[in-house]
Symmetry: C2
Subunit: 209 residues, 2 copies
Amino acid sequence: MLCDVSEPRRAGRWRTGQQSKQRIIAAARERFMRDGYDGATVRGIASDAGVDVAMVYYFFGNKEGLFSASVLTGPHHPLHQLADLLDAGSEEIGARLVRGFFERWDAGGTFEPLLTLWRSAAIQPAARQVLHDAMAGPLAQRVADAFGVSDAELRVELVASHLMGLAFARYQLKIEPLASTSVEDLVAWVGPTVQRYLTGSLPELSPMS
Amino acid sequence: MLCDVSEPRRAGRWRTGQQSKQRIIAAARERFMRDGYDGATVRGIASDAGVDVAMVYYFFGNKEGLFSASVLTGPHHPLHQLADLLDAGSEEIGARLVRGFFERWDAGGTFEPLLTLWRSAAIQPAARQVLHDAMAGPLAQRVADAFGVSDAELRVELVASHLMGLAFARYQLKIEPLASTSVEDLVAWVGPTVQRYLTGSLPELSPMS
């Protein structure tokens, strides 16, 4: 799998490394979104990008790394949205998060990568790990810092699984009336829930738990 | 596709119709759960059940009918659980529903059919229709009657999508700490949400919505 970089033609390819890397990422994103984590192959992605398969391994290490770099990055990624919203203040975080989530998704399916990841994680331990790390790491720390709460990882997962369930029902299943409910109605229903999950205390917690 | 019932061997099979029907349902349930709605074939199910494919069409009309009869039936089906719980009274419905949902699923994956349906509905209009009808019909009517609320269909869908998102994260993704959180903690977190979705009013609804 190692490239012979002394070979002229290969060396020429390596010089355009950054462009190749971007082409690989674009090809991988398309393949993963179309075929899922399991169905997409590194070989097929390399072929789509017009590079040697060895270059993919050189840049991304393995399929997991490629998945993470292509599907989990980008400024529009919803897992970054909570962090962005917290930068703008912690007030009414529930309503703001729900509004931002559905407005952005209504506007054009930019969350498709997360749905791909979500589906893939059901069958792929690697994708599962990527998803967990994305939620449990810096994001949970931000929540803990912003609201002074414990259980921040669980809180983030409650919010994420609720929003993903809603997104799945609204955009994939398209079940009515949920699919046609206005964003402001969703904010009114779900906003207080997200607010409580992120900032509320749990005095009603059972002593037996 | 029509069977010649005058043919002796076929006639012998038809006489054991009820047993054959049960065998078909069992085979279909297994196939649908393993391969999803899209992957399972009527021919393969008939083969597993040891019957002629025409018998499957005779009993169930089409693949959708077979899916509905095999995956959506049974006393343990979670979509029936809310109705059962309402038979026992409407008090603390949120906590009781969340507790019942996770206790039963923790005990042995009896909700796998619903997860299959949920996944299949993303790609199959027929499965989508089955899922919608199961939620929007009698169940929403029960909620409307029990709590005197409007928007009962939307309320049921909010609850269903929340619980399915949680179940997916807990049982399929197995993300921690959600996967190991005790049922009573889940009741404390999610119970009030379900209670509000099913019984609450929405004074905060935006006038622009």
